[in-house]
Amino acid sequence: MIQRMLAGLLSLLLITPMALLLLLSFSRHWIFPDLLPAQWQLRQWSELLHGNSELARATLRSLAMATGVALSSTALALPTSRGVARHRRRGTLLTLAYLPFAVSPVVLGASLLYVFLRLHLAGGTGGVMLGQFVFAYAYAVILLTSLWNPEAESLAGLATTLGASPAQLWWRVLVPRALPLLAVCLFQTFLISWFDYALELLIGSGLVDTLTIRLFQYFSAGDTRLAATCALLLMAPPLLGLVLNQRLLSAGLLFRGLEHDD
C-alpha cells in the first residue's frame, strides 16, 4: 500500500513539469495566484506552424544542425572506437576522449573563439556545428568502444579469413552487428547538439538562431509562454525516442567510466 502511494506520488512529480509547460504554452493570461490560466490561446503554437516565423526557422535550423552533428560524429566514431578498443593504450585514449567534457563547453568555446574568428567560423552555423562535433564525437567514441569485445573481433577475423575485403567486413559484418548501438549513438549525439546552449552562445555569438538560444531570449524577456513552447519543442525528439525505444535514452546510463591500460 505504502509502495503504491509512493509510486503514485513519484509519478505525479514526474508528470507535473510537462503538464506545467503544456499549460504555459497554451495560456494567454495566467497571473498569481490563479492555479490555472484565466485565458487560453493558440498563438504560441500557430506561430510555429507559420513556416516563415522565427520560431519555425529556429526549429528547422536546430534540427538540421543536430542531424549533421549526429551523422558525422557517429560515422567517424565507429572506426575510431575500434581503433581505440584494439589499442594497447585504450585507457589513455579513452581518458583523452573525456578531456573536452572536463574543460566544459563554456571554457572551450570562450578560449577557441579567437581561432574561430580568424577562420571566419564564429557567428555561423558551421562553426557552432564544429564545436558541437568535438563533444559529440568524443561521446560517441566512448559509447561505441563497448562494441568491440573478443566476440566481435573473432567474427571480424573469421570474415577476413573467409576472404572479405575491408569494405565488405564493415558493411556486411561489423555495421549490421553494431546497428542497435549505432541507433543509440545517433540519437544521443543528436541530443548533444539539440540541447546545446553554451557553444551556440559563444561560438555562434548569439547570431545562430536556434531553439535553445530562442528559449533563453524569451525567458530573459519574461515571455514564459513562448519559452514554454520552445521547451516542449526541445523535449519533443527525446520524448519521441522514449516512445519508440527506452534504450535510445538509457543505453548511456552505464557509461563506460575511466579505464586503466592493460
Binding site: P17, A138, L191, H260
Partner: protein
C-alpha cells in the same frame, strides 16, 4: 588483439579531442599572460595577480564545488531511497516509463521549470496561497536567484535524481544486490546491516565512474546557474562568462585566467578519477 601502433582513427581521436583542448589552452594562457588580445600590453602576470587576489575567484570555485557536491549527494540519497523503497515497482506500469521523462529535459528547460515551479509566483507558491499558507508572492521562501544556491540545487535534483534512480536500479540488478543481501541476512546480518555493509558499497562502487563524471559535469554547469542562480556568488562557469562578456574589454584576460584555473582543477579531477579507476582495476 591489442596493438600499440597509432592508427589513422586513433590519431583522429587525439586530434579532435586533445587538439581543441591544447589550442584552447594556448589561447587561454596567451590571453591570461597578456601576450595576445586587443588591449595587450605585452606579457605580464598582472591579470593573474588580480584574479588570485580577488575573493570572488575563490568564492566561485568553492561555491561551484559546494553546489555540485550538494546536488550530487542529495540526488544520490534521494535515488537510493527511491530504489530501495520501490524495488521492482520502479520498472512496472506508467512509472517505468515516466522515470525516463527527466532524461528528455535539457538544462535550459530545467532552469525554466525551476523558476515556474519554485519562484514567488510559481506553481508551488500558488498552491501555498490556495491552502492559505501565504498571502502574497513575497511570503514564499526565496528558492530561486538566491545566494545559497537552492534554485540551482533543486534544478539539479530534478535532472540528476531520475538518472541516478535508473542507474542504481540497473546496477542493483546487474550486480545481483538482492541475492547478496539475502545471503548476508541468511548469515545473520540484519536488514539494515545488509543494506549498509553490502548493498550500498556494491552499488556505489559499480556506479563510481558515472558519479565521478557527473560531479565534473555539475561543477562546470552553466545554463542552470546562469538562469536561476544569484548574481553573487556565482558558479565558476558563470563568473568566466560574466568577465568574458563584459563591455569592459580589460576584464577579458581575467576571464581567461579563471578559465585556466578551472581547467587545471577539472583536468586534475579527471586524472584523479582515472587513477582511482586504475587502483580499482588493479585491486580486482
Amino acid at each position: 588483439m591489442r596493438v600499440g601502433r597509432p592508427s589513422p582513427w586513433t590519431l583522429l581521436l587525439v586530434l579532435a579531442t586533445t587538439g581543441p583542448v591544447l589550442l584552447a589552452l594556448t589561447f587561454m594562457l596567451g590571453y591570461a599572460f597578456g601576450g595576445i588580445g586587443l588591449l595587450s600590453q605585452g606579457w605580464t602576470l598582472r591579470h593573474w595577480q588580480a584574479v588570485l587576489a580577488d575573493r570572488q575567484t575563490w568564492i566561485a570555485l568553492a561555491y561551484s564545488l559546494y553546489v555540485a557536491a550538494l546536488s550530487l549527494a542529495g540526488s544520490m540519497l534521494l535515488a537510493l531511497t527511491i530504489v530501495f523503497a520501490l524495488g521492482a515497482r520502479l520498472r512496472r506500469g506508467l512509472l517505468g516509463v515516466l522515470l525516463y521523462v527527466p532524461l528528455t529535459i535539457p538544462p535550459v528547460v530545467a532552469a525554466l521549470l525551476t523558476v515556474e515551479l519554485f519562484s514567488g509566483a510559481g506553481l508551488l507558491a500558488r498552491l501555498a496561497y490556495a491552502l492559505g499558507w501565504i498571502a502574497q508572492p513575497s511570503d514564499f521562501p526565496a528558492l530561486v536567484f538566491s545566494a545559497d544556491g537552492s534554485g540551482i540545487v533543486l534544478a539539479h535534483f530534478g535532472l540528476v535524481t531520475p538518472f541516478l534512480v535508473l542507474l542504481f536500479d540497473r546496477v542493483r540488478r546487474n550486480e545481483r544486490v538482492d541475492a547478496l543481501m539475502q545471503l548476508s541476512q541468511t548469515l545473520g546480518a540484519t536488514r539494515a546491516q545488509a543494506l549498509r555493509r553490502v548493498a550500498l558499497p556494491v552499488i556505489l562502487c559499480a556506479a563510481r565512474p558515472a558519479l565521478n563524471v557527473y560531479l565534473i559535469v555539475l561543477v562546470g554547469a552553466f545554463e542552470i546557474p546562469l538562469m536561476v542562480g544569484a548574481q553573487l556568488p556565482s558558479m565558476i562557469s558563470v563568473l568566466i562568462w560574466n568577465r568574458f562578456a563584459q563591455f569592459d574589454l580589460s576584464t577579458k584576460p581575467q576571464a581567461y585566467v579563471l578559465a585556466a584555473l578551472y581547467t587545471a582543477l577539472m583536468v586534475s579531477g579527471l586524472l584523479l578519477a582515472r587513477r582511482s579507476a586504475m587502483t580499482a582495476g588493479a585491486a580486482r
